[in-house]
C-alpha cells in the first residue's frame, strides 16, 4: 500500500482577506458575475435580516450564492443603480474566516421589496462573515444589518 500524500494548501489570513477585499471591489463595480466567480459553485448564502412577509409566505434570504445571493445582489443594483460600499475593517484568520464591517448604500430608483422608490438615499452599516476553502474560494457568505435603518432612510415607515 502506498502512502498517498495529502496536499493541503495553507492560506494565510492576509490571502483570505485579499479575496474578500476583491469581492467588495467587484460589488462596488457592480460585477456580480465576478463576485460569484470568487465563490465555490455550491457556496452557501445567508442574509438573516432579509425577510419579505407576504400574506401567505415569507421570502427569506437563505440558500445558495448562485440561486439566492446572485438574484439579491442583482436586484439591489437594479433598484439602487449607484449602489456602493465602504469597507471599514477586514479581520481574517488562517482558518479561512473573514469578517468585514462595511457600509452599503445607494439611491433608490426602482422598487426594492415593499419599498417604493422615492429617490431617497440610504447608507447602512453591515457586517459580513465569510468562510473560505483551502483553494481561496468563498464557500459561505453571511450578512447582517438593520433593515429598519434602511427602510426609514428610504421613507418607508411600515414595518411590513
Amino acid at each position: 500500500m502506498s502512502n498517498a500524500s495529502v496536499i493541503v494548501s495553507s492560506r494565510t489570513a492576509e490571502q483570505n482577506a485579499a479575496v474578500v477585499t476583491e469581492f467588495f471591489d467587484r460589488y462596488r463595480a457592480h460585477d456580480v458575475d465576478g463576485m460569484v466567480d470568487l465563490c465555490t459553485i455550491n457556496a452557501d448564502f445567508s442574509y438573516p435580516p432579509f425577510e419579505v412577509w407576504g400574506k401567505q409566505r415569507v421570502l427569506r434570504g437563505d440558500g445558495k450564492v448562485g440561486t439566492v445571493g446572485k438574484p439579491i445582489w442583482t436586484g439591489l443594483i437594479n433598484a439602487f443603480p449607484n449602489l456602493s460600499n465602504v469597507v471599514h475593517s477586514v479581520d481574517a484568520n488562517d482558518e479561512g474566516d473573514v469578517v468585514v464591517q462595511v457600509d452599503i448604500g445607494g439611491t433608490q430608483q426602482q422598487p426594492w421589496g415593499l419599498v417604493l422608490p422615492a429617490g431617497k438615499t440610504f447608507s447602512e452599516p453591515h457586517i459580513f462573515i465569510f468562510r473560505l476553502n483551502s483553494d481561496g474560494l468563498i464557500e459561505s457568505v453571511t450578512g447582517y444589518w438593520n433593515n429598519a435603518g434602511i427602510s426609514q432612510q428610504l421613507g418607508h415607515m411600515e414595518v411590513d
Binding site: 425577510e51 484568520n93 474566516d97 469578517v99 462573515i129 447582517y144 444589518w145 433593515n147 429598519a148 435603518g149
Partner: protein, 144 residues
C-alpha cells in the same frame, strides 16, 4: 500575570450576559469601552452605556436565553453569532409590552486588549425585532 485569551474574555462576557449577570459581564469590559449598537442607533463610550444596553434587554426579556452559535477569532478581534430569545415583559426600544416572544439572530463583534473588551459592535435587525414585537410602523412604535 494572569491573562485570558481574547476568545475567553468574550466567552466569559457572554456567559455572564446569558445568566443575566450584568455586573459580571461588565467586569470583562474596559472602563472606556466603545459601544455601537446599530439596531438602536446607539454609539457611545463607557461602561455605563453598555450597562444600559444589557440592562434594558434583561429587564424587557427576563426569561432571556442567549445561545452562542459561532465564535470567530482573528487576532484580538472576536466575532460571535448569537441567538437571543425571550418573552417581552416590559417596554423595549419604544415598543409596548404585548408579551410577544422574540427569537433573533445577531452578530456581536468584540475588540479585546489587555484582558478587557475595549469595543463592542452589535448588529441586529430592528425591523425583525419590531415585527416580532407586533410593532406596525417605525414612526408610531408605541401604537399597535
Amino acid at each position: 500575570m494572569n491573562s485570558r485569551s481574547p476568545q475567553k474574555v468574550v466567552s466569559d462576557f457572554l456567559d455572564d450576559f446569558a445568566v443575566r449577570d450584568i455586573d459580571g459581564a461588565l467586569g470583562n469590559t474596559a472602563e472606556d469601552i466603545n459601544v455601537s449598537v446599530y439596531g438602536l442607533g446607539r454609539h457611545d463610550t463607557g461602561r455605563g452605556t453598555m450597562r444600559t444596553v444589557l440592562a434594558d434587554i434583561v429587564e424587557a426579556f427576563p426569561d432571556l436565553i442567549v445561545t452562542v452559535k459561532r465564535i470567530i477569532t482573528a487576532g484580538n478581534v472576536v466575532t460571535t453569532v448569537i441567538n437571543v430569545q425571550g418573552t417581552q415583559a416590559a417596554p423595549y426600544a419604544g415598543a409596548i409590552n404585548q408579551e410577544k416572544h422574540v427569537d433573533l439572530d445577531e452578530v456581536w463583534r468584540f475588540v479585546v486588549a489587555e484582558d478587557r473588551i475595549t469595543q463592542i459592535d452589535a448588529y441586529w435587525c430592528q425591523q425583525q425585532l419590531y415585527r416580532r414585537l407586533g410593532v406596525k410602523r417605525f414612526d408610531q412604535i408605541a401604537i399597535v
